[in-house]
Symmetry: C2
Subunit: 259 residues, 2 copies
């Protein structure tokens, strides 16, 4: 029983609720009958030190969040984390993710940092085999970086995103509004924020989307359903939680269900 | 920006949801308009290594959970935690708490480990000055260790607890039942578990309780209200969250409200 006992690591704080939600989903997706059946985890959350990822991608901030995320992953490793999730979609943009993963490699870090975006694409293929058209809701940073469309189109999907005006409204009203945005007010999510998200889903459905990726960690707080009518709502955070359990202790992973 | 930047530490895993709930309440009780306003935290949760605290207090298990909790507090310190909360009421029983605090002292640990039970008594005095009779709902371990009654009676309160049959039912049905107990099924809490907890509150009210301490971390998940009719429902976890913010960065603490 030393600090080196293996644990699941969560690089949290981007934003403040993201790590908590991932930790919560780890509990939900673990087969457990008593509290000792749950998996050891360490969650490090330093929101005040992590520059807004979208602001960085848009050139409005100069410090790459990759540097503090790198340090946090190393700190998680020092507490025994063997596999780490970073529950921030926007941080998976190449300008951040490639710097982070290169630094980790160069430093000799032995942690396996899972790629939430790649895991999401794998999940779609396995659990929604009939889906051909996928929509993406996200921050403006993720929208502009376009890594979901790039990855999914390479795998043969048609990918729909919002046009710029509606995308901007979703970012500013549902996510970042200082009063009713989910980044400020998550428990409970405001009706304004949920309405903007539902409008986004409907727009993507009208363009043919059969599944919608909730591509910002805060979005599933406002759209907690796994399906909305016939449309799959795909939460990359939940997929990441399941991938962490799979890598850490496969026999503890709950079977997937759309209910 | 090193790992030594001060953080709030959470010694979680007793049980698995306890640390998450404390982290969630830290966010709720912090004044924040943007994500960078939230406080840095590190949560370490090792449920599989922490013996059930009640089983230890009842003599059904021999390893004192204090030892692994000690190690976890030291690990939190190594990641920069300057003040730590341990959101487990039962672990505040003298047989566990005194061993933990003595080991921390002897090891030269510089972390301030806050005492959730003492904080709760202080809170009652300040925020419910008219209350004279206090009820306590808890695990059997906390019920038998009786540290809430001891502390509160020393401060002049009348203290009510359940008689043994109902106490046992609450422990076994609402908390530990493998299907509908909150330790197994917390999101959402089952109607069976909530009904047992509500019965407990009513029994204590009928004995004169004006405030009820929800003295096990899982109980507030089934009784999330701050008041039930005229009765104050006092959540030591929320009080601990507020105490951590107070000690860490007082100006970020939200004013208290019973709403």
């Amino acid at each position: 029983m030393t600090s080196d006992d293996p644990k699941i690591g969560i690089a949290g704080g981007a934003g403040p609720y993201a790590g908590l939600d991932l930790a919560q989903m780890l509990l939900e997706e673990t087969i457990a009958e008593q509290e000792q059946d749950h998996l050891s985890t360490v969650l490090l959350s330093t929101p005040e030190q992590i520059e807004d990822r979208t602001r960085f991608l848009l050139g409005e901030a100069t410090v790459n969040p990759a540097h503090v995320l790198f340090r946090n992953v190393r700190d998680l490793e020092s507490l025994g984390a063997s596999v780490v999730g970073l529950p921030c979609n926007t941080a998976h943009a190449a300008k951040i993710w490639s710097v982070l993963t290169r630094k980790l490699e160069q430093s000799g870090c032995r942690v396996r940092l899972l790629d939430m975006v790649a895991e999401t694409a794998d999940f779609l293929r396995v659990e929604c085999p009939e889906v051909q058209t996928v929509g993406v809701l996200s921050t403006i940073g993720t929208w502009r970086a376009a890594f979901y469309p790039t990855l999914l189109e390479a795998q043969g999907y048609r990918v729909m995103v919002l046009e710029e005006t509606q995308q901007r409204e979703l970012h500013e009203e549902a996510l970042y509004h200082p009063k009713h945005g989910i980044k400020a007010q998550a428990h409970p999510v405001t009706t304004q924020a949920r309405r903007v998200l539902l409008d986004g889903v409907r727009t993507l459905e009208s363009q043919g989307a059969e599944a919608v990726i909730l591509g910002c960690t805060e979005i599933p707080l406002g759209l907690p359903e796994r399906r909305l009518g016939a449309t799959y709502l795909v939460n990359p955070g939940r997929i990441l939680a399941r991938a962490l359990i799979r890598e850490f202790q496969l026999e503890r992973l709950r079977p997937w269900s759309w209910e």
